[in-house]
Symmetry: D2
Subunit: 375 residues, 4 copies
Amino acid sequence: MTTMDVLPSPVRLQALDKPGQPAVTPALEELYRGFEQEMLVPLWTEIGSLMPLHPQSKATPHLWRWNNLRRLADQAGHIVPVGRGGERRAIALANPSLGGRPYASPTLWAAIQYLMPGEDAPEHRHSQHAFRFVVEGEGVWTVVNGDSIRMSRGDFLPQGGWNWHAHHNSATEPMAWIDGLDIPFAYHNECAFFEFGRDEIPPEEHTTPEFSFSERLWGYPGLRPVSQLESTASSPLLAYRWVDTDKALNEQLALEAEGYAATLSPGHAAVRYSNPTNGRDVLPTIRCEMHRLRTGAASQTRREVGSSVYQVFDGTGTVRVGERQWQVQRGDMFVVPSWQPFTAQADNGQASLDLFRFCDAPIFEAIQGHRVQMG
Amino acid sequence: MTTMDVLPSPVRLQALDKPGQPAVTPALEELYRGFEQEMLVPLWTEIGSLMPLHPQSKATPHLWRWNNLRRLADQAGHIVPVGRGGERRAIALANPSLGGRPYASPTLWAAIQYLMPGEDAPEHRHSQHAFRFVVEGEGVWTVVNGDSIRMSRGDFLPQGGWNWHAHHNSATEPMAWIDGLDIPFAYHNECAFFEFGRDEIPPEEHTTPEFSFSERLWGYPGLRPVSQLESTASSPLLAYRWVDTDKALNEQLALEAEGYAATLSPGHAAVRYSNPTNGRDVLPTIRCEMHRLRTGAASQTRREVGSSVYQVFDGTGTVRVGERQWQVQRGDMFVVPSWQPFTAQADNGQASLDLFRFCDAPIFEAIQGHRVQMG
Amino acid sequence: MTTMDVLPSPVRLQALDKPGQPAVTPALEELYRGFEQEMLVPLWTEIGSLMPLHPQSKATPHLWRWNNLRRLADQAGHIVPVGRGGERRAIALANPSLGGRPYASPTLWAAIQYLMPGEDAPEHRHSQHAFRFVVEGEGVWTVVNGDSIRMSRGDFLPQGGWNWHAHHNSATEPMAWIDGLDIPFAYHNECAFFEFGRDEIPPEEHTTPEFSFSERLWGYPGLRPVSQLESTASSPLLAYRWVDTDKALNEQLALEAEGYAATLSPGHAAVRYSNPTNGRDVLPTIRCEMHRLRTGAASQTRREVGSSVYQVFDGTGTVRVGERQWQVQRGDMFVVPSWQPFTAQADNGQASLDLFRFCDAPIFEAIQGHRVQMG
Amino acid sequence: MTTMDVLPSPVRLQALDKPGQPAVTPALEELYRGFEQEMLVPLWTEIGSLMPLHPQSKATPHLWRWNNLRRLADQAGHIVPVGRGGERRAIALANPSLGGRPYASPTLWAAIQYLMPGEDAPEHRHSQHAFRFVVEGEGVWTVVNGDSIRMSRGDFLPQGGWNWHAHHNSATEPMAWIDGLDIPFAYHNECAFFEFGRDEIPPEEHTTPEFSFSERLWGYPGLRPVSQLESTASSPLLAYRWVDTDKALNEQLALEAEGYAATLSPGHAAVRYSNPTNGRDVLPTIRCEMHRLRTGAASQTRREVGSSVYQVFDGTGTVRVGERQWQVQRGDMFVVPSWQPFTAQADNGQASLDLFRFCDAPIFEAIQGHRVQMG
């Protein structure tokens, strides 16, 4: 049951006596009663909030500390079972101004997921697009259409919509990771499908290979299997390993130091996870990137249509979102609402600041409605 | 100020003691208090409504009668001025289960707009995509970037985002028409921009040409001006005249009678308004079509991701939307929520049933998430 | 049997003793004999002609007078039958420097085709793309997949590859028109398929409707039949009528006079025949356009990758191609070889100069190798 | 000066008295003299060869032995200097039935290139697309827009059109490799541009890094630098290293053995070099692939529009092209003309048969004229 569902109808016109509105007369009141009766609402009472000069997000900049996320997930691990129905031990970030709903932003879901040693999460599939990102730990494998994919620190696992998937923890320790999905987008815009799969992962799929089939087939720069030439909506490469991401970021900074244009701005390296069948975003609705700020470096201030969720992968620094500012460290997550200015700065010291980011920009690009403003 | 904005935070977990949920223990209560404190919501209390097996629209099938729309618009014409601030004398359909908001569906805005003789609506532009469709009357011209476009019965006028536009009624009678926009989509997903233009339309733009510049440049089947070869997000053709639409529909039925595959199904002709620069939808977020059911003919039952709004252009018939059914006539408007089955049938008699339709399918097609189910 | 086929092998190295070449020594001669023996040719003897600084066409600018074309076609009409085997009474322009082959340019075929009263041309299909354009006369219908298409002065009929087609002259006079195809391109690059169809057009396809099925289905600006939503390689609209082309050109000049950007340059209107399913060229390999120069007006000088063939549709004027210049009138045809500068100027007087043009630019655009240079 | 240029005009009609042709009468002779005079050629004398039922290649299946290529290149290395004017010490395969021209097929250039120790090849750029492939040796670096790229056995280096490039041999041994280009295509179709660059490579570009800038920026599976988001016509990744290609092929065979669909057919692995900005072919006109046949395995017989050139990278086997058949080994090169059936089979024994292939299929796909027939 949603917030919207419980609100009473009919329409209530609360803007009767405000500046810029027609003078309240008996005729106007009668008109507005007519509107209410016929389920109508005039534009002139609504236009300011409905059609703002630029996006005015209903979401608020907010930070979730990793130690809290990790602590509560662990607590849940000990008292909430995982299984059919609840499906996943996933705990979602709920933006403070989105009515207590599990929405990091109006379009994005971000959650910490947790599996105890030996546990399985049952198989299902959904049209919502998803990914996993691992900030710490190991021991869980995600099984996608029968292909077991190892999850280790720094790995990124895209999960395009409508693929069967389950998880199993084959280690002796619990493991946490984050999930990102377009659940709020699909919920608001009413385009979601879901199907239950097998309740149990069969023993022969409880495998723990170092590399998945998908990596063995697709994990080579610029090489496509000739047996698989179609462009697919989501990436067929199901794991992007940290060793590659880390090296790509380091090399951008090294190339910059050698005078070659490789970074976004001085000291700011970034890679985008892409679909090797078409070079586009790894998922049709979610953009995923890893950013690295060299020690002491700051990103350019950026405003963008659509919202982003970040997780600090490593290092420490300061981030500014709209009028908020936080000192952040490993695992901390925060949301940048639509069109709010964002800047990050790495602390001076030994380490660079690594930020994993996901956002909904592909949706707006697909309908030719994306905008970015720098500086 | 929106419904969402006024809801209190923090998160409230109301699903504590329900079937399929973990047993309520002090540990669980403490866990849930921890979630509330840290702005977190678990998946397992939400998954049923958040991730349904198929789209479960928050909207309700609903019908608005044209005589009511027309009557209230006329009433408004006599007491509510049109001008800067309110911008337009537009009265929107408010779906009964969407909380009193001016949303025909979660993504679509549909309104009747009304101008008194001699009135102007001031210039503005917005990133939301729009169109006008004329079910009756004449006398108003829409001025787009200085190009005056006549509006007559049956005409369809697309209005791609971010073009300056105003309206003027140059006749001696009031005129009503309908507007369709993606306002709720842009509002929920936070991608909207708006800019005010000139308060007054200068006298030299109060022109009333029979055909606009855009038609004179683009209004020929399959012919493109070589001076304008770029593909544009929205159609550069700013009026699709009834004479063409009517003829195209008649010819489909005639071709069908001659044994040629031209209709969607027996007795069901349909044309889609398209962007001549790329053959795609006339607007990047809104699909617009005109359907004609031969007297007595019925459409195939169809479920589709995304919502539609229909207006009866001519004829009479019966429409079924989900579990609702209405007898409809000229001007009546109704909404088909996402994934609800829809069928229309023309009455037996002289006339065919003409239905103007708009929907949000281009959004879902652009992100490769569209689905249709027939029968 | 082609020119290439009759040339003797092996390789002959004729560049032995030229400036810029290695000194002729016994060792070099032995090396070159080795090359000949092993079917090898060095780059250094060939590079100048093979890899020029810009395209150096093997074709020559050339003009064919319509009265000669018409006269010889008529002569052929009286002594050469049309039927299976020869397939068409088509007489092709043979560029003077292309070895006596029926190539207007290295990629394009242009021919006058001629049918006597009551004659049929038998059915076939080929992967080569084709069109017909009518500079004078009427009475012939082209039958495409059973759809009879009238051919009248000014009409343009595209004929995408691999569609069955035949012609019949249902009038009491002979009729001539021009055909354009990509035969030389397909021949050189070896991608052509051909299939014979029915020897006789059945009586029920000897119809002479004013408008073809395809026009009745597709011939409306910006309207697509919802029953046919796929993008097709070639246009499904099988006739582009002169009434539309003429009006579009007139309106461009009228809009220019009213101060609106509608023409290519002052006094130079032009429309491109386009595929309504995607807004692209009417055929995947051939661009077709109609140009109109207002009396006294001149086009801008233009060089372009690829070759063009023009036919004067109406009016008189002067055209310059490379170092050639001709005074032209109705029906005259000429070729503009790749990268040769082209300008046209309408005579002063009553009439504008109308030029039908076709060229191979879509090929080079498709492989991202097109270039244009103005002025 | 080309073969075509030296052929005399005007048109000569040699088909006067043949079956299927009109009876030779004085009137016909006069008509044909009229055609000759006006530079015209009828279709009916030409159609059989011009418009065949399927592609009939002017090229012949032919094999060049690597030891001959290597020997003659070495001989040239000792007597023909490399420098401005001749540009490259490249020796091209000349198909025996293409008139002694340096065309492996009507569209493709294939050559062995050779540099002596310490030699440089001067800088230039051209619109023709190119690649290098290394079957043996090392020591040469290709410098592309200042980026030095190592060339080692098994490496593939694409070279998109219009990039500056030079080569330098920084080793103590000569080195040979093969070049592939679309020179014949560009020559016939007249779309080529060429520009000379610096005569000398400056000392600071005589670098010999293990990995080029381009690899350091682009050489990671599925990761794109956020600073470079445009889709480019040719791949920005300038070296595809053998270690990746070899592993990708081995894994396809291993996956096949594990029951996973990864190969083209049993025992036949293949990867396509792709452009990471769009997943398409590495060059807009040339497809490049590496094929591996497991010991004893055979490929399926395949006919395809367009021509291919193969080089044996490793192993031994038998190849059949049309009616020819050869036993092949490392370095041997052969051409498969358009629409000729092709099969390869690895010898039984220790090693698999590795075949490097390039072909012109992207051209035909771009104009939607590609066809493949299996079996």
